[in-house]
């Protein structure tokens, strides 16, 4: 029997839904043969991105987040769309956080973590939506 390789999930922009997304990614990537290493990279990346959308994109107010999984081993594409504030992650600056951390100040880590854990990233703004495509490749 042919395995399903495409999955869609729509969630409201709420911290309560982060676990649900991680569970979907873990289950379906596993079924499609991805390694634990890649699965963990994916859940780390997507959690950071969703936390950013909820906090900054929708500013903790109501909104929808659309998640699409396109799993064709060895490449997993996770497409996350939102209608929050326009934000091109590829133009975001990653700063050296050491001074900040030394002073006991948290924050600003999400984008640095995303760039470190996903293998490739594309951004498109279409019809008022931020569309981020996170790519995880077992060969990388």
């Amino acid at each position: 029997m042919k395995k399903d390789t495409n999955f869609n999930l729509i969630i409201s922009a709420s911290k309560k839904n982060l676990k649900k997304v991680r569970e979907l990614i873990t289950k379906e990537m596993k079924v499609n043969g991805f390694s634990t290493n890649k699965i963990i990279s994916a859940i780390i990346t997507i959690t950071e991105h969703l936390e950013n959308i909820i906090k900054y994109g929708y500013k903790n107010s109501k909104g929808k987040i659309y998640i699409k999984l396109d799993l064709n081993y060895p490449v997993a594409k996770i497409i996350v769309s939102d209608k929050g504030k326009k934000f091109n992650i590829l133009k975001a600056k990653t700063e050296d956080l050491k001074e900040r951390i030394k002073n006991g100040i948290g924050g600003k880590m999400g984008i640095k973590i995303i760039f470190n854990f996903c293998d490739d990233l594309e951004y498109k703004r279409i019809k008022g939506y931020n569309n981020n495509i996170f790519i995880f490749n077992e060969k990388k």
Binding site: N37, I40, E51, K55, L97, I101, G110
Partner: protein
């Protein structure tokens, strides 16, 4: 699911965290940790061996709690992170603030 348990060892409070720490579980983490360091000793070791996942919100909470503890003449150390979480710990630069140990034994000796 996120859980927190604690016990004393060699003058330290060992705080065993398990499960996942993200922005949805940070409030629970902060309230439980605060109760521990307000009523017990202020030298804390976070035992992460059963921690599957920590997002940047979780790390931020840990960093800010460490600052508060030190301001109250306490300290915080971290032990037993899994490989991926250790990578975040190093990449982000949390090691400039909080010392890391491979085992609870090592952390209590230093």
């Amino acid at each position: 699911m996120f859980e927190l348990k604690s016990y004393e060892k060699n003058g330290f409070i060992i705080v065993e965290l398990s499960g996942e720490l993200d922005s949805s579980s940070v409030p629970e983490f902060l309230s439980k940790l605060k109760k521990i360091w307000e009523c017990k000793a202020k030298k804390i070791i976070l035992d992460m061996k059963n921690m599957e996942f920590i997002s940047s919100s979780g790390w931020s909470a840990i960093i800010e709690e460490c600052k508060k503890l030190r301001a109250a003449s306490g300290d915080m150390k971290i032990a037993c992170l899994n490989k991926k979480m250790k990578r975040i710990f190093d990449v982000v630069g949390i090691n400039v603030l909080i010392k890391y140990y491979e085992s609870i034994e090592d952390a209590t000796k230093d």
